[in-house]
Symmetry: C2
Subunit: 131 residues, 2 copies
C-alpha cells in the first residue's frame, strides 16, 4: 500500500508543502519512494514515522532535533541508548513546560474569576436600572 503526497497530507494532517519540506530537511528516514514518473509514494512505514515526528513537533521539539533523531534511527542499530536519551530529555522539557503552562493558566483563570464577578455585577446593575 502506498499513497500520493496528497493522500499522505490528509492522513498526516500536514500539507504537501510541509511533507516535501520535511523530506528536503532530512527529517525522513530515507528518501521517499518514487513512482516511475517521479511522484512521491508514501508507505505505511513513512506515515508511521511522520506520525511520530508530528508528535515530537507538536510537543515543541525543534526541526533540527527531529533531524538529529532521524539521523540516529537512520544510522541503524546500536545507538538506542542515545535515542532514548534524546527522547527522555525531550519528555522532561515537555513536562516542565506543561507544568509552567498549567500554572500560568491557573493565574489566568483567577483573572477570569475576577471579570466574571464584575460582569455579573454589571448585569445586576443593568437589571436594577431597567426596573
Amino acid at each position: 500500500m502506498s499513497y500520493t503526497i496528497a493522500e499522505a497530507a490528509v492522513r498526516s494532517g500536514l500539507t504537501a508543502h510541509t511533507l516535501r519540506y520535511y523530506e528536503r530537511d532530512g527529517l525522513m528516514l530515507s528518501g521517499v519512494d518514487r513512482s516511475p514518473s517521479g511522484h512521491r509514494r508514501y508507505t505505511d512505514r513513512d506515515l508511521t514515522w511522520i506520525e511520530l515526528i508530528t508528535r515530537l513537533r507538536a510537543t515543541g521539539m525543534p526541526i533540527r532535533e527531529v533531524r538529529r533523531y532521524a539521523e540516529l534511527v537512520r544510522s541503524g542499530d546500536g545507538n538506542e541508548a542515545e535515542r532514548l536519551a534524546l527522547l527522555v530529555a525531550h519528555r522532561e522539557r515537555v513536562e516542565t513546560q506543561l507544568a509552567e503552562v498549567t500554572a500560568h493558566l491557573r493565574a489566568i483563570d483567577h483573572k477570569i474569576g475576577i471579570y466574571e464577578g464584575k460582569v455579573e455585577g454589571a448585569l445586576d446593575l443593568e437589571r436594577t436600572r431597567s426596573r
Copy 2:
C-alpha cells in the same frame, strides 16, 4: 517605587530589548513613565501588567491578541464582558492544547518504553558477553 528598564528586565524575566519592543508594539497599558532624562521608569503597576501579559504569552497568546486585550483595558470600563470573552476563549484554546500535548507525550512515553526495553536488553547482552 519605580525601576529602570534593567531592573524591570530582571523582575519580569524579559530582556530590556523585549520590554521596549512590547511598549512599541502597544502591549503596555500606556506609555511607560520617563525620568527627566527620558529613561524609562517602570512602576509596580507596569510590572503587574507585564506579569499578566507574560502569562498570556507563555500560554501561547499571539502578540496581536495581547495588544487587543491591552486596547480593551486601555479603553476603560464597560468592556469587561469582551475582555472576559477574550480570556475565556484563550483558556479554552490552552486547555485543548494541553490535552493534545499530553496525549502526544503519552505516545512518546510509549516509544521511550520500547527503547528502555531494548537498551536493557543490550546491556544484559553486554553483561553476558563480558562474563
